[in-house]
Subunit: 359 residues, 2 copies
């Protein structure tokens, strides 16, 4: 598929959560129909999609049927089983590509890829057992975080090690899964670059946003992040190098640590990203439409920010704030249509326009 | 229904065209699900709605089932048969209200209502036959337009009378339907005020936009319209009076003529309006969300414009411009997902951000 998709074509999306939902709306805005593939019943994205296939990622027949009904497949999360990807790619292109998924599905592979590019990361080591762990503690030092190499998100599958005595419990928390030991990095802030790359190789980045996490979950992103011009330029160039090296097509979230020694890559996410939700109310083309443009082979939007924005996640009981936020003239609410409010569950977000774009 | 609807509630929408489609997306953004009622197959709004009922407006049973499945009903067009409204209102509230529909479904009733409010309109007279027509020509003069009192839109059901000889053909074009004779008004521009009123009576208006029509169809709306401060204030106050007088809940499009003698009301539309599409890229809360907020009993957004915008309709073959528009960094495309491009058919629109909001 090298020609741009014409309006009326169908975009297949793996995953029916809030990211799939907002991708679906963006696709509709460009005249595409969407088809969601999601194992769970009543997915949030299904409320705004043309079609929904409800089936597990192990159902190769359902996957083949889904692939045959769409013109391109993209995804809202990176932990898609390889067999599912094989079944789809036999029929229709997957964007972003398989290589990116292979790199980003494994924290160790990801860190190694980034290091080989010449970019900085936190110090890391593979940990499969207690011997590896002892060596890593010796080499890299404490404090550190032990993380499963695969299937971790929002702070799950992670254990902090402050003192040597914490090591056995941390290893036990991995439940036998291969892990990665990451040394702590002294950073002044965490920022994200939401970067996009089109089929013809052009790259467009949104301005970096400053992220605040609590309990391992993103709480706010504020744009612009308080950075020097040099830091801002570095962040964007660095993100562009990652996308180019992967021959990437789509939007990627690149999380960076700002340290006295420069920018460190914390993590990459080969998809639209929570820290890019501000673009919905800060730019002419938001990250969701940017991603759809890329996977559809369209030219990218330019990503210029017209407004300063603070994005606040609404997590669990934060939904109680909705009536007050609805009365706030500077706030745009984005709710995800999830039936049940649960502690720690992302229910929506609120973009507060702070004013016209500052320098 | 006086309590605001909680996220998760369902908004019923009569009509599955582009307005229903954009209302549906706005409702989803606030966490509502939507249910479209539309006689035609494969409606554009159905691609982004949770449920669709396909049935004619004469199917009282289907209407009752639809009404029972939703928490409030709104609509994207005003020519809904009275019996359909009766069937729905027996079960669930309709917003905007029945009175507004009665007023706006008939051009004569509408003009009379506006005149009684003390607001100016073009000179008009009821025309049921050749005698009425001769009297109207005598009284109001030429040139003039003869329009059917009901079911006209986008220049359909209208005939221009420049000379007395045109009268018989104009009358014949009405096909026996009751008509209204409207004298020409010398105006310097046509503007629209997109006004909203909430359940507790608060009114919020967007800045007036300047409209350009061709062949009876809106082509562009540019905001801000070139008006004096006094004219702008007049326009907004006048629109507010109309909404208050109707105890209106929702968004209304108020088309005005700017004349040397002041503002004249051309037409009101009890729904979101093509001339308000610019708000999608000019305001934090657009007209579609504003309408949903009103009919859901939520507080209104404030409607402040953060950017100057030119909205351009994409009609029929204008779809050929889509690739170029997609490359334009200042343009946001909004396509309607219509399967077939036809001459005169509204296929989408393009909002061009002109810059930060000017005074």
């Amino acid at each position: 598929m090298t020609e741009p998709l014409a309006p009326g074509a169908t975009i297949g999306i793996l995953g029916g959560g809030q990211l799939g939902r907002m991708l679906s709306v963006a696709a509709a805005r460009l005249g595409f129909t969407t088809h969601i593939y999601e194992p769970g019943a009543e997915p949030p994205a299904g409320q705004v999609a043309h079609r929904v296939t409800t089936a597990p990622y192990e159902d190769v027949q359902a996957l083949a049927g889904f692939a045959a009904a769409v013109d391109v497949v993209t995804y809202e999360f990176e932990n898609i089983p390889t067999a599912a990807l094989d079944a789809i790619e036999a029929v229709v292109p997957i964007r972003p590509n398989r290589r990116t998924l292979a790199v980003s599905q494994d924290r160790l592979t990801e860190k190694a890829f980034i290091s080989e590019l010449g970019l900085k990361t936190a110090p890391f080591a593979a940990v499969d057992d207690a011997v590896d762990l002892a060596e890593a503690m010796e080499e890299i030092g404490l404090p550190a975080i032990l993380k499963t190499r695969r299937f971790g998100y929002d702070g799950k599958g992670q254990a902090r090690i402050d003192r040597p005595e914490d090591a056995p419990a941390a290893l036990a928390a991995m439940a036998g899964a291969p892990a990665i030991y990451e040394g702590f990095v002294a950073f002044s802030q965490e920022i994200s670059v939401i970067a996009a790359r089109g089929v013809s190789g052009e790259v467009a980045c949104y301005d970096p946003g400053a992220n605040v996490h609590r309990d391992g979950i993103l709480r706010t992103t504020t744009v612009p992040a308080p950075l020097s011009t040099a830091q801002r330029t570095d962040a964007v160039l660095l993100a562009g190098r990652i996308l180019n090296a992967l021959d990437y097509v789509g939007v990627m979230g690149v999380e960076l640590f700002v340290t006295p020694g420069g920018l460190l890559v914390n993590e990459i996410a080969p998809r639209v990203h929570n820290s890019g939700h501000w673009t919905q109310n800060g730019c002419v083309i938001d990250q969701f439409e940017q991603h759809i443009r890329a996977v559809a082979g369209w030219p990218l939007g330019d990503g210029t920010r017209h407004s300063d924005v603070e994005m606040q996640n609404l997590i669990g009981a934060d939904m109680d704030k909705v009536p007050a936020l609805a009365r706030d003239p500077a706030v745009a609410l984005h709710l995800y249509g999830k039936a049940e409010t649960r502690a720690g569950r992302k229910m929506g977000h609120a973009n507060r326009r702070l004013g016209p774009a500052s320098a």
